[in-house]
Amino acid sequence: MKRLSRRTLLRGGGGLALSLPLLEAMLPSASAQAADTPRRILFEFKANGDQTARRFTATGETTFAFDEFLAPLEPYRNELLILNKLNRRYNTLGDKRSDGHQQGGASLAPWESGEGSYPIGGKEGVTIGYVLGPSADHEIGDRVLQANAGLKYRHLVYRVGQKNNDIWNMSSHAGPVGTQNPIQPETDPYAAYARIFTFGADDAAAKAAIEKRLLKKQSALDLVLEEAGSLQSKLGSADKARIQLHMDALRDIERTLSSGNGSVACQPFDLGTKLDPYNDDNHEAIGKLFQKISVLAFACDLTRSINFNWSGNTSNRVYRNLGFTDGHHDISHDSADEAFVKIRAIHKHLWTMSTALYESLKAVPEAGGTLWDNTLVVHWNELGQGDTHSENDAMVILAGGAGNYFKRGRYLDFLNKSTFADMLVTCFQYMGFTDVMKFGDDRLNDGAPLPGLTA
């Protein structure tokens, strides 16, 4: 079926004031999925590994019991699927893997690392680089976007607490395969909210002002795209690719230009008094704002894929709210019992905040249930245990109704065999992309989704 772009409709409709409901009515149903309630996925990241021996006190498939730092999940146990001891298999990449934090922090993009960006690790005489391929949040979002012409955003990428971007703190990557292309996340929730939500006034003056802005933007985008296309023809292949990325980004913006946001659940909320997003002491408030923005983005159906990070990997946040004075990463490198007491406290705090996301999703009604019923939350970490930089014992917890795709309320031990990348294949499958049997480097895949997960 030929895809009708939103842009074409705006023009073909003869006016820019077309309201969104009308627009939606004119859009073709682009996939089987669109006929049902849409499925969504949200990757949720916590840093620096945990204490693997203290995750559970019992590990029966249905009789499992959470230990101290996972205790906040107990009320939700029947809505979770726990995947323990997944192997990242980065040792198979030889010297094309970076430091455990770096490579592990790119676990959503299971590719070998490139060269030229950081002088720790890598092969002799060469510096290591970012991973050479896209991450699952980007690829899933891209596929969803291709199949749903009405969606605005491929994915949204959020990180709490750090503005700078380096090989230690970016989990989302655009690819394509063979290229280093890390995606800088949004780090300021106030700017992030303003960027994607437009709840405009309805009076004639406001409409005229919106129309004028829209005309200006569309005219400029047309010009810049046409000009970029003509520049491309004069450039070598590497520079051509740079301009292509830029043009793709402009087309992304083009898709988002019209105002209006779908469903009745799509309502503005008050972000409250503005806080410094980069002050460690504000991490809980900032994180919860990003959670609410994520939930609203789902409610407004702006995107189906979100990559949310409680921090960058290797985060050295000081959890003063827990009474600590040293940084998280520093604590995680300490094998003393006192240090693990702190690690458990940090993770308990983070997991408690994770459950706030569950409650936000459950609070939004949708098609006879709630958003929670059609959302998969994928909890992950860059390491297994922090003080040993272990990579063969990743814990991933799948949460949410997820369209009843999974048989929940269970604990599954993968015995350090199945891989983290296989888990990502499962995510593609859940999102309806059943043709995906492998994601990432061959050495990190078994060529199938994780066995025994589905209902």
Partner: protein, 560 residues
């Protein structure tokens, strides 16, 4: 807090010892191992330059460079200098720009300046905020007829400055059409101008430094306008000024001497202080933005200490850049600094009462080594020997460190209560799997233990134990050997060819906007020789960066 002064005789003896163990006075060009026709392997800069590969111009890659955030801000500032209130408007418009992905410590590597939708959105929002201001500035528009002819004239004059070269006829048509479109909708002249500026500020011609080059002899070279841009972005991190535009208009900037003359003129301009961006990134001064210290451990620290430390280093480096003889050695060894009353009080130095930063003797300190860079990666409650050592090894020696092994316990704190951090690390290094890397970092890091994590000199550590700053540096090309403290380490580093080569390498990476490759050997050899002959002058290296094959030429275009 009192300062310690090392006996002069001891210093002299150590300096002699350091010189004595220097085995690499010439330096060697990285990757300079290509075997030439005679079977020799050129290594020294002179040998490389004499080899066949450097007989004709040998520029390395010249990737299309997007403006970094700093370059964008400088460029808009200069482009809209006539616009009232441009500074605050620009700050506000660009405050949410995402930080560039860092590569080898720098945020201006062309390979990591790709435009994602978030970045493109930032450019659009910024252009939307700035374009009405430009349209409301008569001196920028230049004509007063408020008609299509005036709009066209504006496209030509403003466009030449925005794109940093004259516009082709079809480009003038393209942008004048924006005015026409606005006019056709019934919008006023000002709106039409606004639409033009709005588009230009999002154009790839504005956001990238587009170079197409042209044949020059048997090689390819940038055009005069492209060379003007190379000069202005190298020294001012911004667009060319009128003098450079005039020179390009006359078809100049095609020979080394003209380029050198311009470079020397530009270094004297106040805009040359924008070179501090390089030092901020190289020395991690920019990391002071995330400075976080526990108030119970570090009481009485000024709330704006990061700003004070940044201003100190800026004043210190700026003075060296402005002096023709200001050298890498001065950068690393000066027993003086620039302090104001607040920072002097913090350091425990009396007699400074000004709010401005003034030159003050600081015995026991050693240039930038004991300024903010040294502590910007320390911990909230203590110094970090490992990170300080790592900083010197990675960024001043350009060495590499292997990744920590996986699945190995990093059992540092458990090594015993009552030990100093230094002692813990020493025990740690008795484990072979740890020693391999930590030998590279810790012996350098302990030398800085005479300074706490907020930059004050000290004689006891956080645990109340006396600090020991003596060490034996190992696994370097020419810095190995005993040092008593940071002043001696500064001298060793200043006398080290490895450090000099590294400084040239870091400058190459930042100012050419990419990593070094073996295809850059001729340019690197030219820089190393110029740096040596210029007695490691920082400003002379800036001039030398305009005299290499890499600067003067471009690679031939790809075959279609």
């Amino acid at each position: 807090m009192s300062s310690k002064i090392l006996p002069i005789a001891l210093l002299a003896a150590l300096a002699a010892a350091v010189y004595g163990c220097q085995g690499d006075i010439e330096g060697s060009v990285p990757g300079g191992t290509t075997t030439d026709a005679s079977g020799a392997s050129p290594q020294t800069p002179e040998q490389v330059l004499a080899s066949s590969m450097c007989k004709k111009p040998a520029p390395g890659a010249a990737p299309l460079r997007r403006l970094s955030n700093a370059e964008y801000r400088n460029t808009v500032q200069d482009l809209l200098a006539d616009v009232a209130g441009v500074g605050p408007a620009l700050d506000s418009a660009s405050k949410d720009f995402v930080d560039e992905a860092e590569s080898l410590g720098f945020r201006n590597n062309a390979d990591f300046l790709g435009v994602s939708s978030l970045i493109a959105q930032g450019y659009m929002d910024s252009a939307e905020a700035l374009s009405p201001l430009a349209a409301a500035t008569p001196s920028l528009i230049g004509c007063t007829t408020q008609d299509a002819a005036c709009a066209k004239q504006f496209v030509e004059s403003f466009g030449k400055r925005a794109f940093r070269r004259p516009l082709a006829a079809d480009e003038v048509t393209r942008y004048t059409a924006e005015y026409d479109k606005a006019a056709a909708k019934g919008y006023d002249f000002k709106t039409g101008i606004e639409w033009i500026v709005f588009s230009m500020l999002q154009s790839t011609q504005f956001l990238y430094r587009v170079e197409l080059g042209a044949p020059k002899g048997s090689a390819y070279a940038p055009s005069p306008y492209e060379t003007a841009n190379r000069l202005s972005y190298l020294i001012w991190q911004s667009m060319p000024d009128q003098t450079l535009f005039d020179a390009a208009d006359r078809g100049e900037l095609t020979d080394k001497k003209q380029i050198e003359t311009q470079a020397r003129r530009m270094l004297k301009d106040p805009k040359a202080s924008r070179l501090l961006e390089y030092f901020d990134q190289w020395l991690d001064i920019d990391h002071l933005a995330t400075f976080d210290r526990d108030a119970n451990v570090y009481a009485d620290v000024p709330a704006n200490l990061p700003d004070l430390l940044k201003a100190e280093t800026h004043a210190y480096v700026n003075e060296l850049l402005q002096s023709p003889s200001g050298s890498l050695s001065d950068l690393l060894t000066g027993q003086y600094s620039y302090l104001n009353a607040a920072l002097a009080k913090h350091y425990g130095i009396s007699g400074v009462s000004s709010t401005d930063f003034v030159r003050v003797d600081t015995p026991g300190r050693s240039g930038v080594l004991t300024q903010g860079m040294m502590l910007s990666r320390d911990k909230p409650t203590r110094t970090s020997i490992v990170r300080r050592g790592l900083k010197v090894r990675l960024d001043m020696l350009c060495e590499k460190v292997p990744a920590p092994p996986n699945n190995v316990q990093l059992n540092l704190e458990a090594l015993g209560d009552g030990l100093t951090q230094r002692e813990r690390l020493e025990k740690h290094r008795t484990n072979a799997s740890c020693a391999g890397c930590h030998t590279l970092m810790d012996p350098i890091g302990v030398v800085f233990e005479g300074f706490d994590a907020v930059g004050r000199q000290r004689t006891v550590d956080e645990g109340g134990k006396p600090v020991d700053t003596s060490s034996t540096i190992a696994a370097t090309r020419d810095v190995d050997g005993p040092v008593a403290g940071v002043v001696e380490l500064g001298q060793s580093l200043a006398n080290s060819q490895e450090v000099r080569d590294c400084y040239v390498m870091q400058s190459f990476r930042f100012f050419y906007g990419r990593d070094y490759t073996t295809a850059d050997q001729c340019s690197m050899a030219q820089l190393m020789i110029a740096f040596r002959d210029g007695k490691q002058s920082l400003s002379e290296l800036m001039v030398a960066l305009t005299q290499t094959d890499q600067f003067l030429y471009r690679p031939a275009p790809e075959a279609p």
